[in-house]
Symmetry: C2
Subunit: 210 residues, 2 copies
DNA sequence: GCGCGAAGTGGAACGCGTTCCTATTATGGA
DNA sequence: TCCATAATAGGAACGCGTTCCACTTCGCGC
């Protein structure tokens, strides 16, 4: 469905660009800000649609016009945060002599950012895990940010639009998978932050041993 | 929490063994059967607590007495299915000359079993992803089955209670993670069954190249 | 057999995601 | 400027997970 980035016409969130008026872009921003704020305070359960609407100063119906479900809303918020993180990393060199070290460092940075706000992380991860194909567009954007950050770590001096080798793509995917699983383990209280970090480190070392 | 297998006293599902009377064990079985049946027909959404109660011929309150939430219910059902699969594999030799081949084969078997019943898989995976620490006991059992099956594939001639090397444990965990992520991707409609199979195969080959 | 506490029944009620409807307000073209 | 149309407000209503409660039945020591 939608093969390569081009979304089908299924119920999508209104993206920032296709919003005509300034007022609308601001509404959208207010909604996402409210979402992040509530998630940050109380996690997934605290992001209640009525509460988001009220805090963003929009009607419930309007909220649903912008984001067709709580999941879309949270995944979109996650996307915005990831893009922020990705943008923040671009430019700055990543510390580490080998690809493995750099990948571990970047994931640590990300994790620290996330674990510094456990409730937010819980909310966003839960949403990501629960999303179905109707949120494919939003999820794809998150995946792109992730890939971008990891490629950047593996080949720091690569040009912006350049592509990874097939093997590197495969490795990137696996690392992303492990990271996601580890995050789920942490979010669901199955493993500690230290376990999580370790789990990722072990996986990266197994995969990037050259 | 509950470090190694010994559960804390948090809200647990009533396990099969600690159920005194035969009538109770049968009630529990009826409930899990109803759960699997409903999940198999219509997936996560079709497993409605009222419907489960009715089909299992049990009052709603009783259902909640046995399983404190829909998540506990589904994860317990998943646990039963995994243990069934694990038990079914024991004894039978796994085809494949190398550890990698055997692991891939066993995962294919599992996936085929699961993908043969997409709705059921969707329901169980969703539940697993959404479970929090209060379902730690049930989740732990699923993890044990998974580990058992994978160890069996890596070292087919190993004694029952024997333990894997540290490296093998790490590899097992990573494979489990990838499998879970791939499954989530498939369940949420982000990737096809073929993609999923391929994703796992690539990961296993990356990890078990000796 | 009797009584008592635990377990089960049946159903009302509550919370939150979601849908829907009507009234009001912005917006942009003739 | 005025009007048609879309967008928003405000809020009622519905579905399903979950909780609660009054009542009945079961199991077991006396």
């Amino acid at each position: 469905m939608g093969e390569d980035g081009v979304p089908l016409s299924t119920a999508n969130s209104l993206t920032a660009d296709e919003l005509g008026s300034t007022a609308q872009r601001e509404r959208r921003k207010r909604i996402l800000d409210a979402t992040i704020a509530l998630a940050s305070e109380g996690g997934f359960d605290a992001v209640q649609m009525r509460a988001v609407a009220e805090q963003a100063d929009v009607a419930l119906g309007t909220l649903y016009r912008y984001f067709p479900s709580k999941i879309h809303l949270l995944v979109s918020a996650l996307g915005r945060e990831f893009e922020k993180a990705d943008a923040g990393m671009r430019g700055k060199p990543i510390p580490g002599d080998t690809a493995a070290e750099r990948v571990i460092n970047i994931l640590k940075l990300l994790s620290r950012g996330l674990q510094g706000d456990p409730h937010l992380t819980e909310a966003l991860t839960r949403a990501f895990m629960f999303a179905d194909s109707s949120a494919a567009t939003e999820i794809h954007r998150v995946g792109m940010s992730m890939t971008s950050m990891l490629s950047h770590a593996i080949h720091p001096d690569m040009a912006e639009g350049a592509e990874l080798s097939e093997d590197d793509v495969a490795i990137t995917k696996v690392i992303g998978d492990v990271w996601l699983s580890a995050l789920v383990g942490w979010v669901t209280g199955r493993s500690s932050a230290a376990d999580t970090a370790n789990q990722i480190e072990v996986a990266v070392k197994l995969l990037l041993r050259d």
